[in-house]
């Protein structure tokens, strides 16, 4: 057992024993060695279930919404991306800071689950796609911290430059090629809404895609309705996406959802200045304010 896991369990035990929180949310081993799903620990004697390994993909902050009306505090482990998710939810007033104990855990980047399954336990498994470009390996906000921060700043520095080459590759296609690409992607969308439900930027109480009575979207599953969903979802998380990549990871149909999110991130940075969601809780949202000198393309 690594020192970090020991420390994790130690902190969790202490929190539960002292009654500082009623539940600690972390990760545990799942069905297979390459799965580390969320774990909810209520009792000190259960802390041994907690793990920290290369597959702790799930962003736990979204679960805090389930505990809004619970009495007492909730403790959760946060990676860099999870902490940005936490900040996002805080900014959307969906959670209260003082009802949460954050245990920060620096993250070197997790491994690709599909590749792990394919290559086997002893192989050299590549980093998950979402982690390759990570710029926030260290938690931004925490009450406890596990491990050392220093080493990871180097990791952060290494990936400081943003890589939008995948977005640019699509931008260079002709309109018809672009449409064909995206139409194919969204033809197979099941509208299972896993991408939405896992997303920390999706903080609505009732999503418009669940309001079929209003008629925003039809029940039918077809490329047109699915693209309405895709574009609207992308616009709805514009300026809010923290790039945790969970949407893309959970998609059963392997739709490259982050390509849409990254396009918006790229344009927001280009048009309205540098902005990283979930970093500054008190800052203004890109679509929540304007600048009189915004670029002028409408004449």
């Amino acid at each position: 057992m690594s020192d970090k896991v020991k420390k994790m369990q130690e902190i969790a035990r202490e929190i539960l024993e002292k009654g500082e929180a009623k539940v600690v949310i972390g990760w545990e081993k799942g069905t297979h060695w390459y799965l580390s799903p969320p774990a909810f620990i209520d009792k000190p004697e259960e802390v041994e279930r907690l793990v920290w390994d290369d597959f702790c993909h799930n962003n736990l902050s979204k679960y805090l919404k389930d505990y809004v009306n619970h009495e007492g505090k909730v403790a959760i482990f946060v990676k860099g991306c999870d902490s940005r998710a936490f900040n996002r939810l805080l900014q959307d007033k969906q959670i209260e800071r003082d009802k949460v104990i954050l245990i920060g855990i620096p993250c070197h980047g997790l491994k690709d689950q599909d590749k792990a399954k394919e290559l086997g336990e002893n192989a050299d498994i590549p980093k998950a796609k979402k982690c390759v470009e990570c710029r926030y390996p260290n938690p931004l906000v925490y009450d406890y911290f596990i491990g050392e921060e220093k080493a990871l700043d180097e990791v952060a520095a290494a990936s400081e430059a943003r890589d939008f080459s995948d977005v640019e590759a699509i931008e260079t296609l002709s309109p018809d090629e672009k449409y064909e690409f995206w139409n194919k992607q969204y033809e197979r969308c099941l509208r299972c809404y896993a991408c939405r439900n896992v997303c920390p930027a999706c903080s609505c109480r009732e999503c418009i895609f669940d309001q079929t009575r209003v008629g925003w979207i039809g029940k039918a599953n077809n490329a047109s309705e699915n693209q309405f969903f895709a574009l609207t979802r992308a616009m709805h998380v514009a300026g809010l996406c923290i790039e945790c990549g969970e949407c893309e990871r959970v998609c059963p149909m392997n739709i490259p959802i982050m390509l849409l999110n990254k396009k918006l991130i790229k344009d927001i940075n280009l048009l309205f200045g540098p902005y990283d969601a979930g970093v500054d809780v008190d800052g203004k949202l890109p679509l929540g304010h304007f600048d009189k000198n915004d670029p002028e393309e409408f004449m």
Partner: protein
Amino acid sequence: MKRVGVFICHCGSNIAGAVDCEKVAENAKSFPGVAFSTDYKYMCSEPGQELIKKAIKDHKLDRIVVASCSPRMHEPTFRRCLESGGLNAYLLEMANIREHCSWVHPDDKEKATWKATELVRMAVAKVLKNEPLQRSTIPITKRALVIGGGIAGIQAALDIANAGHIVDIVEKEPSIGGKMAQIDKTFPTLDCSACILTPKMVEAANHPNINLITYSEIENVEGYVGNFDVTIRKKARSVDMTLCTGCGTCMQKCPTKVPSEFEMLMTDRRAIYTPFPQAIPNKPVIDRKNCRYFTTGKCRVCEKICPTKAVDYTQEDELVTQRYGAIVVATGFDLFDHSVYGEYGYGKYKDVITGLHFERLINASGPTMGKIKRPSDGKVPKDVVFIKCVGSRDEAKGKAYCSKTCCMYTAKHATLVREKIKDSNVYVFYMDVRTPGKGYDEFYTRTTDQFGAKYIRGRVSKIYEKGDKLIVRGEDTLLGRPVEVEADMVVLATAMVAQPDAAKLAQMVGFSYDQDNFYTEAHPKLAPVETHTAGVFLAGACQGPKDIPESVAQASAAAAKACGLLSKEEMPTEPIVSCVNEAICAGCGMCVPVCPYKALDLKVIQERAHGKTITRKVATVNSGLCQGCGACTVACRSAALNLKHFTNEQILAEVDALCL
């Protein structure tokens, strides 16, 4: 089943000339929901309206589409028609088949008819989703608040009070009067400022409809037009206003001397003081920061000496909340801090003073009893330099705008120097001389021709001290050569800037301000005294640099607007406002910053969920403030916000209908 009636207007030949109106009426019969459809020569005429009313009755119509001219023209007409026909006015939709169709497509009847049909189809689709809306009224509280007791505030208050309404003036200083009270004479007539101001101050103080609330500040503003709930902080005066007779004994005996702000720190006042002898109310306050008793716990001289036992050290700030129907903001201006200019000595040279210092120096009740004496050694200056545009028209260090009044008051100062000091020389450095205004240019001409002030076009590049002289170096750009003047005193015409707390007040009341923190009028030409917040009006230099006559004129204009509002018992409200579906609202607050009217806020509600009572935040729309723009509905991702009469459902129905 909804029953829509469709009425196609020929508008004489205006529409019928290009559109086959009968055909459009015929086509409309097959649209879902349409129970009756017809056409007529002039729908807006008496018989046309009768036709609609009769059809409502005969065909049991519950929604109406009129296809005619622009709704910007006749929507009110047909709304009234529906009302008198027994339908709610908002069950009307109009299809604009004149301005948007017949007039612009006069030569292709087939396509114009096709387009008209589709415009009617859109209107029918929308009207099927219209809901009856009720215009409500909001009561008007017949009381006005004037924030700021300078000349603008006093004038506005007097006008409103004379119209018969109660007015409260809130002034942060212990006395009303403002900047005008500090000024000696006024251009271009050279009347004594105090002589024309003090009667107004007295009139305001004695007016049965005016309450002066001095030494007080606005703490909070809630509500909306007709019903602003304003919390006012009455700062502790430490003097009981009801007992004090204003005899002034305390001010003579107070042992603590403090530089007087009113006299631009050129002489002292006491810790218990009125800012100036003609102050209104003429009852002192204790400056607790400097009072010996409050700083050391010992003294109490004023308490002992006061014949009416009015001094009360235990007084505390008092918060009072009052409801007002209208607010006039007249908070005035401040002066630019010229210490940013190194070339003028960073504000360190004693004899480099501002125009307002100079006003006090020439004022008979000022620190020098009206004798022009320079601050450093009290000598009468012989060579006086005036520098204009200090902070104005200087984007680099100051403000981009022209402060408007400086040309005239500098001319006035130059005249007064020449008048009072016979052998004096006056030099005025200027960029331009701008003197539009009645009698203004004539005054300026007298200053140069009759009083012999020397105007030098150019900027001063440096001032430095040499002995007891100030060397002023600059360039005469007209002659293209350097100039150097040995001056005894330099007077800077510093820019007029917004009050330091201007933005804070604007945010509190909820109207906008520009990049210089001057308040923004609703329209620069056609609504120059209104703000974007209904019921809040602007007067004086808080909106931008102004001289006295302009401030007074704007104050009267603002007062007229306020009186117009207060003369009504109640005002109708447009029911086209946003509304919140609390069941859906997540309380994320993304709608709040996009509302230009501060109509959105979050509130806490209680509800039962999973068998227990929980509280959560939801958005709430103040329908008194909401103007119905709908910006919030787009900011709301879950569509918990909707705009009445332009609902998501209605617009989607229109889009669907036109795409058929």
